[in-house]
Symmetry: C3
Subunit: 233 residues, 3 copies
């Protein structure tokens, strides 16, 4: 039988549930009623708010096709900060010093790089990789099967997608590939399979339907390259 | 006094609250700290995650006009899957095999058809009907007084509305009518009172201001009919 | 040592956590598992749902610049209604009769005026002021350092921003200034630093890139003034 380790240096709130096989590092702090599901591994000095649920297994009904086999344990690095009401799935790995905002959710088979911020209410779907030092702002929607490289800024309420037939035909799902240093304004919409080149900038509210070369700024619906003016708004 | 029935085959997590009058079918499973409010009826083989709240009564302040009289019980069908942190109101009925994602919310006087998916963080307002086999993706906003027929696909972060005066004049609220087989791309915006005909397709990021005929594809701001090209992106 | 006051007229659900220094007025009602963090002050006749977390202190990682010094207590007025899974930070003040929807979040150093509605899943960031009688609809994103005057209507899923360089250059953050009586349609996008004049109207899905004069209606991407036709859609 797997034993749960709770070092004496950890501080747990009221009613915290620690299921079997969980491993907590030194000085982990957990708020009230947070639930740590079976086998989750949490690094030292990580802080978690109240009412979060960590280590969920995927589920589906007959309308959904994705894999719901049992996932490997959720691994959370050292010195991470996780807010209230966050939901993070098994099969995922958060590097050190990641911040996960209140009510953010991160699905299975996802990797989040060092010191990246997953903002309040942001939603990260399965099989997605996010590099280090990224800022995924409040309410952004990061689809499944997407690659985000390092130091990317994704503004509030940005929306992405990975299925060009939107369920009408079978197709391999592929989200956008966002290269390092890209900046995306609030409420922009990204279509499936596009690539945003290094340090590209997408204006607020733009609908990006095709690839954007590196170091260029696009805006509008559909998004077009606009002249750069020192400050690219 | 109404007695609460908990069959021996049910499996409840830590601290689950079952208020009086609740009826649970055989083999219902409920995660930690989920709250089942008074009189809720849950069908057999339904699975519910942690921290959900089911069977809420509506509330308001003086800025809000809607009816807050006591609702009939929430009825959840057989074989449903409900995630973590979901909130579902009384006066609503979920058919069998419905999936409700993490942090999704469904208001009173709503009916959800068989095997439909209400995605993670999706919000369904009151007095709305959603047919069977629909996919309401992550973060979509489904307004009150709206009709969605069967086998509709609503992409992530799609937004709808039901008040053409946006509160400036009294008007009967009426959301869009979305006919069967419609497909709507991510972050599209739908105005009140429009009808999307059967199997219409709305592009990602489109702003749909008027009716769309059946089997046509629209895109842009405002949305216009575009030539169909085999793949309608 | 600070003592927690719980008047006999208050009604608390299962497992409610009341940390030290909390002050509750007469007839406060609190649902199951709601957490009231240290020093929070709640006025009489206020009603709170299940699983909310009130009085959080801010946190950050090294990718984030904002101030995380200890905030003064959260103050909630009389006769407020707060839903399920709401998260409200310390350093903030809600006037009387405010309604906060399910899963809404309000950050530190924010003031919400009398009888204003912060809708379900709406997100209000720090250092923002919202006047009385406003309606912030479901899922709207209200950025930090923003001013919203009285009787403003912000539609569902509206998005705002406060950093014209989107993190690429140091700049004083400044969100939009929305004057009294403004109406904003669903899923509109507002850029930083703009002013919307009194009783201006923004169409659904518009992207507003510059100031809008009072009593004018704008729509489109980018938003332009359109002729007013009695009903301004």
């Amino acid at each position: 039988m797997k034993r749960t380790q709770i070092p004496q240096s950890c501080k747990l709130g009221e009613g915290v549930v620690i299921e079997e096989g969980v491993q907590l590092g030194e000085n982990v702090q957990i708020g009230h009623y947070t639930v740590i599901l079976a086998d989750t591994i949490i690094g030292e000095n990580t802080n978690i708010g109240s009412h979060s649920v960590l280590g969920c297994q995927p589920y589906k009904n007959k309308r959904v096709k994705h894999d719901v086999s049992k996932q490997s344990p959720l691994v959370i690095g050292k010195g991470c900060k996780i807010g209230q009401h966050a939901v993070i799935y098994a099969g995922t790995e958060l590097a050190d010093e990641v911040l996960v905002g209140d009510m953010a959710s991160i699905r299975e088979n996802t990797a989040i790089g060092e010191a990246t911020v997953i903002g309040r209410n942001a939603k990260v779907e399965c099989r997605t990789t996010i590099g280090k030092g990224c800022m995924i702002q409040t309410g952004a929607y990061i689809t499944a099967d997407m690659i985000i490289e390092e130091n990317v800024f994704i503004g509030p309420e940005v929306s992405t997608s990975n299925d060009k037939y939107m369920g009408r035909k079978p197709v391999a799902l592929k989200g956008p590939h966002i290269k390092k240093g890209v900046t995306i304004g609030n409420n922009a919409t990204l279509l499936p399979e596009i690539t945003l080149g290094e340090y590209a900038v997408v204006g607020a509210g733009a609908v990006v339907t095709k690839d954007v070369p590196g170091h260029r700024t696009v805006a509008g619906v559909p998004a077009r390259i606009i002249n750069r003016k020192g400050d690219s708004k």
